[in-house]
Amino acid sequence: EDKVVQSPLSLVVHEGDTVTLNCSYEVTNFRSLLWYKQEKKAPTFLFMLTSSGIEKKSGRLSSILDKKELFSILNITATQTGDSAIYLCAVAGYNDYKLSFGAGTTVTVRA
């Protein structure tokens, strides 16, 4: 069964700080890893990383995938209060239609 472990469980930072979120995974025949941001209800898509794309960047957010060590990192630089949310990591395997999620990391950014 697929396994996704996120750390830390939660963290509190001040505006302007840099945040690093970790996601380790075990999945049969890895196909992709996705990051989502969940503020109130709907998780919103951030990045998808695959074997052919191991680093993604969008504004202050960036993510890398280490397929050898089976983990991914999501970085948020110059944090703002609007970055406060739960960040979810999910993986998908070949011949598998589902996403398997970790429990998430709750990020609180204080002004």
């Binding site: 989502y36 209800k41 709907a42 898509f45 999620f101």
Partner: protein, 114 residues
Amino acid sequence: DAGVTQSPTHLIKTRGQQVTLRCSPKSGHDTVSWYQQALGQGPQFIFQYYEEEERQRGNFPDRFSGHQFPNYSSELNVNALLLGDSALYLCASSGGSGNTDTQYFGPGTRLTVL
């Protein structure tokens, strides 16, 4: 461009009752997945519908069933509700011309079972 929509927003039921949740996928998407998210946990996969058929199912009992309509919208039905079914139920759509791995989520239905 309308995103994924779900109804109702909130629902309160009592044990033993039955509930139906509804989902309309994002425009251009033909695949709908349902997830259950308990408090403090990540979403857990219930099942996925494609071409009006259940394509894959997670570890949920038969009390959970679904349907997909020709317009790609979907319903999730839960029978004989238990207290443990209280959760946020998320619908996600994917497919069309985009990458099929990227699932886009709706705002969810918060189900409370008393």
